[in-house]
Subunit: 239 residues, 2 copies
């Protein structure tokens, strides 16, 4: 095969910790609701997830939409008995997510720098524009990326549009990220390469499966293994 | 002067109606609060605006941040006496803004098409990524634009970055929009041209003033006058 011309990186849970903050907010939400309703944590989460799936069409991803969906779910589940003070705690959950410090995952700077030395790297992330820009700035990694693209959904259509804008054929592009749904499946479908770096937590909205034997797919345990995985793609016979 | 190489358009209240929906949400918020506190509408708005100015650092612009700031303000102003049902009404205000139909302002399609026939036009807007993308799609204008850029803040730094990416000198660029603060002042400061098309309402967060005699500034009453205003820039002696 020809050399890969461009490497795309996901951001949340690939370069830095994120889902843990959402997870902590969910636990706090369950604790608040637990004072009003006699339901399991799983039942509370199911109800919240159902609200989020409906609202995502209007709210998109991110902490602000999460908080609004939580407020709505809390009011519905308590038959409007929840106190204003407890609703205020839910609004504060959004603020705590939006202001958490950016903590890079191990070996991230080294891995991105190594890959960026060989060809342009781009950051492709989804979610809240404002929050993502703040995290990119705070991460100190912004200058390593040739382009930074924040999209509403990481689907085939948006990847195809971005690759057209970058002037790169999908077959010369590899995407690296923690989400099978957002970083792997759409890129493989376009004819590109994908490297999965799992994170310890996966949002319920991101769960999906891929054929691990796919010839343009690799799974690695940490970003330190990325240069080797990319080299394997480049030296494998054409799939 | 040399010909303008690229024209930028703002979106909300320049191409389509927007502020009226936020205005209606504010009126509804005042009505809800009016049942709890004995304060003028202006006092309620002042309190909300103060909360928004603090929160914008975390929330950015858009309907979701507005609703969260409203919930927070309502709880604070009522000493947490506000009912969950009324808080739910506030969450619904965000949904109603996020799902309003896109109504183009008069003559927009013709004006953008006319300008796009002469040189590339780009859309530069701020606010909620998800909401802006939906409105652009629903407007049917997306294909007229060479590039669509949704930024967190329309300031000098972001305009400078975008113009670098576009490969256009500020002195060959004109921005068209309804906001003196976001569409006019930063572009003039960079050495570009700006055309102000006022909308009947201006958000309290967007109020600013410009020297109307500035040689690279024009004010028009409607987009139909845009081609004439641009031609005047191109035929004026260098400022």
């Amino acid at each position: 095969m020809k050399a890969l011309q461009m490497i795309g990186f996901d951001a949340d849970d690939t370069l830095w910790h994120s889902e843990g903050y959402f997870d902590a907010a969910h636990a706090e939400f369950e604790a608040v609701l637990g004072r009003y309703v006699d339901l399991s944590q799983a039942a509370v989460q199911d109800r919240l997830l159902a609200t989020e799936r409906v609202n995502i069409r209007l709210f998109g991803y991110g902490a602000k939409g999460m908080a609004l969906s939580m407020v709505e779910t809390a009011i519905a589940m308590t038959d409007a008995r929840i106190s204003a003070a407890d609703i205020h705690r839910i609004v504060e959950l959004a603020k705590s997510i939006l202001s958490h410090p950016v903590e890079l995952l191990p070996g991230v700077r080294e891995a991105v720098s190594a890959v960026a030395g060989d060809r342009p790297v781009v950051l492709i992330t989804k979610g809240d524009l404002f929050h993502q820009e703040r995290k990119i700035e705070e991460s100190g990694l912004g200058d390593l990326f040739h382009r930074i693209e924040i999209v509403t959904e990481k689907d085939e259509r948006n990847y195809a549009r971005l690759l057209r804008e970058f002037g790169v054929e999908p077959a010369r592009f590899a995407m690296v990220g923690n989400s099978i749904k957002s970083d792997v499946i759409p890129v493989l479908a376009l004819g590109g390469y994908a490297v999965h770096v799992p994170y310890r937590l996966t949002s319920a909205l991101e769960r999906a499966e891929v054929d691990a034997a796919h010839p343009r797919f690799a799974a690695i345990a940490a970003l330190a293994e990325l240069p080797t995985a990319l080299a394997r793609f480049e030296h494998a016979p054409p799939p």
